[in-house]
Symmetry: C2
């Protein structure tokens, strides 16, 4: 699961900006030419600081961005309250869906410092016309987000606050493993406790209590943005986390040829 094998490493050397795109998922179906093509789509890299809006709800989009480094929140604001409806990790094409939607229904906001690679929608139009295989992989990438959304709907419907928090961290860890950014003992994030509250729709006070509960159960310990976990397996069981839906290893993985 989510190893960093040799070929993955050369990906990052040769394709420093897009080497993590779909890594651990469809990427294994890309040949070198596909990988170069994708890398060359990116016209510019840009660095963002904490809390910057990468793409704002309802703005007409002409470019999209892939996350090279850092974390991204997708947020919906209503009545001065913020709801985090999605997270992104390096390798995620954070607003690729803006290529088809043109105006997003939510904001894309940095969580901590980020590096992003930008591609114009004109270039993506070309990709649609000339590289249907890659276009379909991009489509796949946006649908992966949708699969994660569905899982969030389920966990919000099913789990209580500590389980829900645990599930979100299990997911984050697994997604970081896909792109070789995970450490086994500690999950470092730039998140505050109120970010966790906004992801799960609970109050900050209750988010704190959920974190305390995880610690009291001996499952995980949160200290200023870092989650320390001794036994991920135990935490996953507690959160009823099953990684299938992330389309890495598991029942949903595409094992057939992809052209």
């Amino acid at each position: 699961m989510a190893r960093t094998d040799q070929s993955d490493r050369t990906d990052l050397v040769d394709f420093p900006t897009t080497g993590n795109f779909l890594r651990g998922r469809l990427r294994q179906h890309f040949d070198r030419d596909d990988q170069s093509y994708i890398e060359e789509l990116i016209q510019e890299e840009r660095v963002f600081s904490d809390g910057q809006v990468v793409m704002e709800r309802a703005q007409f989009a002409t470019i999209s961005a892939i996350l090279v480094d850092g974390f991204i929140f997708r947020t919906i604001e209503q009545n001065d309250r913020r709801f985090i409806v999605g997270l992104n990790v390096p390798g995620d094409f954070v607003d690729l869906h803006a290529f088809a939607l043109k105006r997003l229904d939510h904001n894309v906001v940095t969580a901590g410092n980020c590096k992003l690679g930008l591609v114009s929608h004109d270039r993506l139009d070309e990709t649609m016309r000339e590289r249907p295989k890659i276009a379909r992989a991009m489509w796949f990438a946006t649908l992966l987000d949708a699969a994660v959304h569905r899982k969030w709907i389920q966990i919000l419907e099913q789990l209580d606050a500590p389980q829900c928090v645990a599930h979100i961290f299990c997911e984050l860890q697994t997604r970081l493993e896909h792109v070789g950014r995970a450490s086994q003992k500690a999950l470092r994030t730039p998140f505050k406790q109120f970010d966790i509250a906004d992801m799960t729709g609970i109050s900050t006070v209750h988010a704190n209590r959920a974190i305390v509960a995880l610690k009291e159960m001996g499952l995980a310990e949160w200290r200023r943005g870092t989650l320390y976990v001794n036994d991920w397996q135990k935490l996953k069981e507690y959160a009823r986390f099953e990684a299938d839906y992330l389309y890495g290893e598991g029942a949903l993985k595409l094992s057939e040829p992809f052209e």
Copy 2:
């Protein structure tokens, strides 16, 4: 909003199977040739009865289906409990995302009797290669589902049970208006109260209480599958429903040319 104007009606006469696809949204950007092309994609129509599984989680998919008539649930099952993570109405391409994902993370199940139009993924491959404009519209359609998912995440995070139930019905009504299937006074569905419970993650007992609460507030009355609403505006305010995110009329609508 959501009128049935003359051109919409001819859509349904000339394109009986796909005439509702993206109607009220991107469809206005399709020319007659696009519309014919889409109609001709459908190779077969099939009728399903209540509770049939149209596409099962993790099965390898080679066809996708557009909903011509009826309602569809997207469900995730865990520990013998069912979670409804999405709904579909006529005109929705219910498992178009299976074209890119190949194996779905959830089940697609009929709610009541349904008519579906089937298209093979081979045909969709052709569409990707030969009709990038239509391919992009299909991509858009799958992302519309994702936008609805995000809204569900938000309402689950924000609203209490009666508001959440109200929101789901406001959304359903608006989506039916898009395809000319709404009546102003009564929203007829094949849903049971336990379906409503599974959509919102509450118990059936509590779903019942939420429905009672809506009635006591004079907002809506539920009688065996039909929701009677006198003043949709009042219900929408109560549910904090804002239709933008459905990409019909509103801030997110694509007003620019689409080729």
